[in-house]
Symmetry: C2
Subunit: 451 residues, 2 copies
Amino acid sequence: MANPSLMMFGYTGRLREVLERISAKVGDTLRVEKGDTVYEGTLMPRTELGDPNCVVLKLPNGYNVGVRIGEDTKISKLSSGKFRRPKPPPLLAKPDPSKPLVTIVGTGGTIASRVDYRTGGVYPAFTPEEIYASVPEIAEVANVKLVEACNVFSEHMTPDLWIRIARTVVEELNSDARGVVIAHGTDTMAYTAAALSFMLRGLHKPVVLVGSQRSSDRPSSDAPMNLLSAVAVAARSQIAEVCVVMHGSVSDDFCLIHRGTKVRKCHTSRRDAFQTINDLPLGIVRDRRVEMLTQDYRRMNPKGRVELDDRIEPRVALVKVTPGMSGDQVLALLELGYRGIVVEGTGLGHAPESLFGAIKKAGEKGVPVVMTSQCLWGRIDMKVYSTGRDLLGMGVIPGEDMLPEVAYVKLMWVLGHVRKPDEVKALMLKNVAGEISSRTDLRTKPPSNPI
Amino acid sequence: MANPSLMMFGYTGRLREVLERISAKVGDTLRVEKGDTVYEGTLMPRTELGDPNCVVLKLPNGYNVGVRIGEDTKISKLSSGKFRRPKPPPLLAKPDPSKPLVTIVGTGGTIASRVDYRTGGVYPAFTPEEIYASVPEIAEVANVKLVEACNVFSEHMTPDLWIRIARTVVEELNSDARGVVIAHGTDTMAYTAAALSFMLRGLHKPVVLVGSQRSSDRPSSDAPMNLLSAVAVAARSQIAEVCVVMHGSVSDDFCLIHRGTKVRKCHTSRRDAFQTINDLPLGIVRDRRVEMLTQDYRRMNPKGRVELDDRIEPRVALVKVTPGMSGDQVLALLELGYRGIVVEGTGLGHAPESLFGAIKKAGEKGVPVVMTSQCLWGRIDMKVYSTGRDLLGMGVIPGEDMLPEVAYVKLMWVLGHVRKPDEVKALMLKNVAGEISSRTDLRTKPPSNPI
C-alpha cells in the first residue's frame, strides 16, 4: 500500500479528517450529497488556491467540480481507485540548433499545464520540460522558451494585461524567436487577439493564440493537438499576423488558423468553438503541416522589426440594443464619461428610435458611436432603410463587416490615437489589421441548420 | 408617349422641376453624384412618407436608395427606361368554404406589400386582393383575412406593441382563424416571436411569424415563398406553437420552421439568415408541403382556447460583458431602477471580476441577474470553473441553453408574474415555451467554416 500521506496531497485540516474517516484516498470514487444534488466522481488532488473545505471530484463527464463539505453534506466512498502519480518530467532535451525558437507566453490559460490547476490538479508547472513531456512532438518542431506575461483566468483579462502581453511579444519577436505562441483561456481569447492585432504594428513574424476547451487532464482534451499546431504555425508558417489556432472539428483531425480580427468563440464547450466570421480561415494545420487556404495574408519578414503601439482609451462601451430599450442606458454612459460607444444594432445596422436622443447627444459631446450588427454575420449597410440613413445623419460610423467585439477593441485603440470626429471615423473605416474585408468571399457561410 | 404626369408620380416641387429639366421619368436610368459617391440606378416612384427632396434610385444590386438632391449633387440621365405600372389587383376571389381561414396580421414589415414602401415604392396597400395578386398560390391554400396590429419598422418594435400583437392574435385564434401569420420586419422578429411564445398560454393553433430579407419588388425577393410557406404552416400544420418561417437556403427551394424561442437572425442580408440555435428546426416547408423534423412539439387542439398572459416588466436590461468592462455600467442600471438584468457573459457563463461588486449589489437590492453566453451556441455551466461558482454564490441564475435575447424577453415576462428571488429563479429555470432544451441533440451544430 502506498504511503497514505502521499495519497492525500492537498487535503488538510478538518476535511482531511473527514476523508480519512471514510478511508478515502485520491483516486477513489466518492459520492457527495448536498441539498438536492448528488455528485459521484473520482477524488482529485486539491489546488492550494482553492477553498480548503472543498473536495475536488472528477465527474464522469470529465469536468472537475469542487464541493464544499459541511454540515449539509453527506460523503461516502463508493469504490477504491488507483491513482497514478504523474511521471516525473524528463530531463530537458538539449536545444537542437537546426530547429527554430518559439516562445510560449503564458497568461493563465490551461493549455500548457499537464494537470489543469483551475479544476483541482496539483501540477500547474509551466516549464519547457513539462511542455515536452505533455506533447513530445513539439520538440521535433521547435525549441521552446517559456515566459509568463500574467496569470489570470481569461474572463478577467483587461486592456492593461493586453498591453503587458503585447510588450512581452514584442520583446521576444525582436530578439531570437521565430514566432510566438500565447497560451490563453478561451473565454476572451478573441478580444486579446484583436487587441494584439492593432497593437503590433509592422508585425514581421507569426503570433499565435491557442487555448483548450477541455482540461488537459481529460483523455479527450484538445490541448495537446492545439498546442502542437500552434507551435507549428509559429515555427513553420509565413504568416506575419496575429492568429488563433484551435480545433477545426470535434475530431482530432485538424486545427484551423483564424485571423485575429475575424474570429469569435461560438460555442460554450465544443472543441471547434472558434469560427472565422465573414471570411475564410487563413489555413489548416494537419499533423504539424500548415496548408494555407488563402493568399491574402501578411508575409513574414525575418529582418523586420515589430513596433509596440499600445496607446488605447479603455473607456469604451459596447451596447447591444434590444426592443424597448430606453435611452437612459446610453445617457448614463455619457454621464459616466465614456469616450466611445460601439452599438451592437439590429439587421443592417439599426437602433430603436428610443435611442436617437442619446445618440444625438453623444454626437454633440464628441463621443463617437460605431454601428455593428448583432447578426454577427454580414455587413452593415445603413443606406438601405430610413433608420440607417437617420443614424448616419447623426454621425454614427458604420462598422462595415467588423464583429462587434472587434469594433469595441478597435475603437479603444483608435481613441488612443485620434480624437477629432473626422479622424476617428476615417481610422475606424480604414482596414488596419484585416478587420474589414473589402469584399465578401462567396464561400463564407453563416451557420446552417442540420436538416 | 405615356402621360408625363403619370410618369412622375410622387415627385413634386423643386425636385420635380430638376427631373423635368433633364427629361427624367420613372423607369429611366440616372446618375447622381454627391460628394465622393456616385449612384447609378433606375428612378423609382417616391413614397409620400419620405423626404420630398430625395430621388429614389434602384441600384444594380437591387436595393433602393434615396438621395437628397441639393446644391452639392449633380444629376444626369443615362438612358430611358420602360416603367410598367403594376397590374391592377384582380377582383377578390370568393372565399372557398373548403379552405381554412388564415389571418395575416400586419405589423409594418415589408413582406405583404407588393412594392416595398420603406424603400420607395408607392403601393403599400395591404388588402387580401393585393396578397392574392402577389402570391396567387395562397388562394389555393387558405382564405385570408388581413388585420393591422401596428405599423412600425421592426427595429422600433416595443414591448407595448408585442402586447398589441398578442391581443390581435388571441382574438383571431379564439374565433374562426385556423392559424395566424404575422408579417414582421426581420430585425427584431426573433424577439417578438419569443415574447408571443411566453404571452400566449394554452396556445392551440399555429402562430407563424414571417418576413423578407429582400424588398418584395426585387426579382430575387424571398417574400412570396416565405409568405406562402407561412400560410401553409398556419393552414395545414399541427404545430400549436409560435414559430418563425423563413428561407432555409439561399435558393428558393425550401423554408424552415423555427421554434419562436430558439431562433435568431444570424446574417444582415442573406435570405437564410434565420437559424435555430441549440436545437433542430421544427420542420421544413417545400412547395406548400409541411414536413416535421421532430416529434417534440405542441400539437394543435381546435377546441382549445388561448389565454393572453401579457403581464410584463419592461425595465429589464441586457448587458454584454467585455474585457475591461467597469462595474459602473451595471451600477448605473441599478440606480436607474432596472428590475432585472440579463448578462451576456463569456464561455460557460462567466463575468469579469470587475463586475462582481455590482452583481452583489444587484442581489442585495433584489434585482435578479441571469447568466447567458455570448458564444450563443452551447449551454451555461457555472459549476466547472471557480468564476462560475463565485457567481452562483452571488445568486446569479444560470440561463441554461437560452439565447441571451430570449432570456431578456423571458425575464420581462417572469418579473410581470413573480418578484421573490426564489420564485424568479424557479420560473427562469422552468421550460415555459421550449426556450430551454433538456438535452442537446447531437445533430445540433454550431456554425462551421468552409474549408
